[in-house]
């Protein structure tokens, strides 16, 4: 996508003029009152980082308990609270906010808009999050502790939980509100604020993936809010949505939850695809292969994601026609996903490749996410899923999608854009160490879990039969290695921001979006006050 841009002699001067102008406040008040998309993007990313480490600590508790058979460190109910909160914190606290952070920073710069469409709403979308996170964490301190139901919050186990469950429900309401408001903002920004000549089909792929994701979020977050509200009224107000004794059905909850839950998988994966679609062409020094088919494939994945939810429920006992429908629909997702993978590989084919840290994470993503996609295909097949449902195979599968997928992509994005945002260059050697250690330890944790699942270890158990000991030991050691490797990332991040070398104007010679080609590095506080005109 080589757009010709008429810049009206605008950048540089107008950017510099406002460089230190942070809306009139300084210190903490700057961050609380900010309506600047870059500030808000930064807030989202720091918030995601903090939650990533909080959720990671919970994972370490889980892996420490599972290091050997028997109960050593925690009681089973606390173990269940850990699995629940690890899931909720990582999904709603870490991964989703991280990609909203990227969206805030990048979308306006990439489409030539001065800011997000609703700048004040943007501030509120972010500032809802710390309150939601606080509520969620407070549930640990309630009588009975946090919910021990797994992040899926299945009825009627939710009815047995203490008041921490209600805290979690309200936290989910607020998180959902934040997501919906953020999504409305992103949709409006992309549809209304593109620079003249920036047609939809000329947008960088990252913007496309977020446009599609935002529609997914607006469609499904209210459904989740409905599911947890019904749980709340079943718990306290005498309704029986999920209680057979009053004419309800526990399986109804699962249908509603997964109608949200499956599109949610793509809410996480699709923006990750977007980041990868920026990084791979930049380091291949070659345009993205099959741009149009990439857009159509992403849209197809999003649409299909609405008609596959019951593949999470093959064992609830649905009619054979239901099983077959959901199986066929699910396997169909492999087609557009395949198209994306082929396009990425073809982008690299006959390019001029170099392997800086963002590209390493992108290739790691491509390889491992595809592996996770293939185990997804295995799980989509009803008879095989009946053996593997609710085992560690499923745990392995979705961590290949969530960690090697979304998280690797987030790391690629951070290393890729950090020079643009801060004007500083990270330490490449440390970055590469971070990649290789993360890659090795990730597989040490999760590859062996495929074996555990096939051999019959159920998920969400604090203790296990002796035949599962070896793989669990390897997995737990991997988890601690993985955690330590992330400290390397933190160190690199802090030293870069504090005392990194100045980044050149174009640290990545193959990057071709407007933010790289027509904005200075580091970017000034305000950009595109006069929109560029693309010819």
């Amino acid at each position: 996508m080589s757009a010709v841009v008429d810049t009206h002699a605008h950048h540089g001067d107008s950017g510099h003029e406002h460089h230190d102008h942070h809306g009139g406040y300084s210190g903490i008040m700057r961050w609380i009152t900010t309506t600047n998309h870059k500030d808000i993007g930064t807030l989202y990313l720091w918030f995601a980082g903090i939650m990533f480490f909080a959720g990671g600590m919970m994972a370490l508790v889980i892996r420490a308990e599972l290091f050997e058979p028997g109960l050593q460190l925690v009681k089973p109910d606390f173990f269940n609270q850990m699995t629940t909160m690890h899931g909720l914190v990582m999904i709603f606290g870490a991964i989703m906010p991280a990609f909203v952070g990227f969206a805030n920073w990048q979308i306006p710069m990439m489409i030539g808009a001065p800011d997000m469409a609703f700048a004040r709403l943007n501030n509120w979308s972010f500032w809802l999050l710390p309150f939601a996170a606080t509520l969620l964490m407070l549930s640990f301190f309630m009588p009975g502790g946090a919910p021990g139901t797994g992040w899926t919050l299945y009825a009627p186990l939710t009815v047995q939980q203490g008041i921490g469950m209600d805290f979690t429900i309200f936290a989910i309401h607020i998180l959902g509100m934040s997501s919906i408001l953020g999504s409305i903002n992103i949709i409006t920004t992309i549809l209304n604020m593109r620079a003249p000549g920036m047609t939809l089909m000329r947008m960088p792929m990252f913007c496309w993936t977020w446009l599609i994701t935002a529609y997914l979020l607006v469609a499904v977050m209210p459904v989740l809010a409905g599911a947890v509200t019904m749980t709340l009224t079943d718990r306290h107000f005498g309704t029986t949505f999920f209680n057979a004794a009053g004419g309800g059905d526990p399986v109804l909850y699962q249908h509603i939850f997964w109608f949200f839950g499956h599109p949610e998988v793509y809410v996480i994966a699709v923006p990750a695809f977007g980041v990868i679609s920026q990084v791979i062409p930049a380091f291949s020094r070659k345009p993205l292969f099959g741009y149009a088919s990439m857009v159509y494939a992403t849209a197809a994945i999003a649409i299909l994601s609405f008609i596959v939810w019951a593949h999470h429920m093959y064992t609830v006992g649905m009619p054979v026609t239901g099983q077959l429908f959901f199986m066929y629909a699910t396997t169909l997702i492999a087609v557009p996903t395949g198209v994306k993978v082929f396009n990425w590989v073809s982008t690299m084919w006959r390019g001029s490749l170099s392997f800086e840290t963002p590209m390493l994470f992108a290739i790691g993503f491509l390889f491992l996410f595809t592996l996770g996609g293939f185990t997804g295909l295995v799980l989509s097949l009803v008879p095989i899923d009946i053996q593997l449902q609710d085992t560690y195979y499923v745990v392995a599968h979705f961590h290949y999608v969530m960690v090697a997928g979304a998280m690797f992509s987030a790391f690629a994005g951070i290393y890729f854009w950090l020079p643009k945002w801060t004007g500083k260059m990270y330490n490449e050697t440390l970055g590469q160490w971070h990649f290789w250690l993360t890659l090795i330890f990730f597989n040490m944790i999760f590859f062996v879990q495929h074996f555990l699942g096939m051999a019959g270890m159920p998920r969400r158990v604090p203790d296990y039969p002796l035949m599962f000991e070896t793989w669990n030991k390897i997995s737990s050691l991997g988890a601690f290695g993985f955690a330590l490797s992330q400290l390397l990332f933190l160190y690199n991040l802090f030293t870069t921001i504090k005392s990194g070398e100045a980044a050149p104007q174009m640290p990545w010679e193959g990057a071709d979006s407007l933010d790289w080609t027509h904005l200075p590095t580091p970017v000034p506080y305000h950009t595109w006050e006069t929109p560029p005109v693309l010819k």
């Binding site: 058979p69 028997g70 109960l71 009975g144 009627p156 047995q160 203490g162 008041i163 209680n243 059905d249 526990p250 399986v251 291949s284 020094r285 070659k286 345009p287 099959g290 149009a292 088919s293 064992t315 609830v316 006992g317 054979v320 199986m327 066929y328 087609v335 395949g338 198209v339 082929f342 590989v345 084919w349 006959r350 390019g351 001029s352 490749l353 170099s354 290739i363 491509l366 595809t370 592996l371 293939f374 295909l377 295995v378 009803v382 008879p383 053996q387 609710d390 074996f451 096939m454 051999a455 019959g456 159920p458 969400r460 203790d463 296990y464 039969p465 035949m467 070896t470 793989w471 050691l477």
Partner: protein
């Protein structure tokens, strides 16, 4: 190279971990003991081979590009970015591969769902945290028992040496004859559980208030072990399913034994028990049935599991206490034990509760429990 040293260190660590494990390393499906489990195994291998071929093909291209099309080797970047023919091809071919996969899978799905004309029908009821089995139809009709984890708590909590079948052993095994079509009806009394025996290829959620079904026809004798597969609260990891498949002869013998034992155990509810004996028996019932929720010290785990020490119900009128144990408390985790325990057991456990942890509220005889049955 630093990287290869690290890999060596990791491999060494892995080897030492493997060496410390006294047990065979399980890494694949348990040996199939039914035609369906066999089918699942074959399907899995079939799909895995397809996947491996595709994976190696696609990433062969990628890694070749990583090697040959590097900037450091001076490879110039070409600028092509679309090719309609190729793009159509790689949309259509995967779709065709899916059809090749879907065909054999569909046949197995339909076979798995065919629960018609069973030789034996057994209802499996999930409780927090044990399984109840009722032989409803076929040889052995009327047999009914509860199956609980038999692993001693010391092995779980206190690091005592663990048995070979740690966490996979129960007091009463589910027994079925070889070669007979066994239909399992699943339901639950409290929350959702899942009945899972990997070796016969069966996993079916047990949903409170609903009956679901599944089936298997075991083609090997032996003992096959599985676990509850749906998170059902704190003891979810401690409610295994043990299935013993025996020959037809042995099954007939087992049925006769069970029926005799049931007759022998037919209780005399009018027996007046000595309070000490009753409380001592009650303590046993308590530790197998009530302890997981209400705890050994009677303090429970509020709010889900209320304390019994000082409880109004326990220290109140006998009738209220008996009714609670017999009929449960709807909407809570307290289930109706009238369906699981004999009147003698219920009288004993009530007596134990009313005379422990500082409670002093007298004893209850079996006849008083019988009188409260509706």
């Amino acid at each position: 190279m630093k990287g290869s040293k690290l890999l060596c260190a990791l491999a060494g660590l892995g080897a030492s971990v493997a060496a410390t494990s006294a047990h065979a390393i399980a890494w694949y499906f348990q040996g199939p003991a039914s035609p369906i489990a066999q089918d699942i195994d074959h399907l899995h291998q079939y799909v895995m081979w397809l996947i491996i071929v595709i994976f190696v093909g696609v990433f062969g291209f990628m890694f070749y590009a990583c090697y040959a099309h590097r900037k450091s080797r001076g490879h110039p970047a070409e600028q092509f970015h679309e090719n309609t023919a190729v793009e159509i091809l790689w949309t259509v071919i995967p779709a065709l591969i899916l059809i090749v996969i879907a065909w054999p899978v569909t046949k197995v799905v339909i076979a798995q769902k065919d629960t018609s004309s069973p030789d034996l029908t057994i209802k499996a009821t999930g409780y927090q945290w044990k399984w109840g089995y009722d032989y409803l139809k076929g040889e052995g009709e009327g047999i009914s028992f509860v199956s609980m984890l038999a692993t001693p708590r010391e092995q779980i909590d206190e690091g005592a040496p663990k048995d070979e079948n740690y966490l996979l052993e129960v007091d009463h095994e589910l027994v079925v004859p070889i070669g007979k079509k066994v239909r399992i009806l699943t339901t639950a009394a409290d929350v959702i559980h899942s009945f899972w025996v990997p070796a016969v290829g069966v996993k079916q959620d047990a949903i409170p208030g609903f009956i679901r079904d599944t089936w298997f026809r075991a083609d090997k004798t032996g003992t096959f072990r599985g676990q509850c597969a749906e998170l059902c609260g704190k003891e979810h990891g401690f409610m295994p399913i043990v299935l013993r498949v025996v020959s037809q002869e042995d099954y007939t013998k087992w049925v006769a034994q069970q029926q005799q034992a049931a007759k022998a155990q037919a209780e005399d509810v009018n027996k007046k028990w000595d309070p000490k004996e009753l409380i001592a028996h009650g303590e046993k019932v308590y530790s197998s049935t009530c302890l997981a929720c209400h705890q050994a010290n009677g303090r429970g785990a509020p709010p889900a599991f209320p304390p019994l020490a000082g409880s109004k119900t326990v220290n109140g009128p006998k009738e209220g206490h008996i009714d609670t144990v017999l009929n449960g408390r709807p909407g809570t985790a307290m289930v109706a034990f009238g369906k699981q325990l004999s009147d003698t057991d219920i009288a004993a456990v009530i007596s134990y509760e009313r005379n422990s942890w500082g409670n002093k509220a007298g004893i209850v005889q079996p006849a008083e429990v019988r009188a409260r049955h509706k």
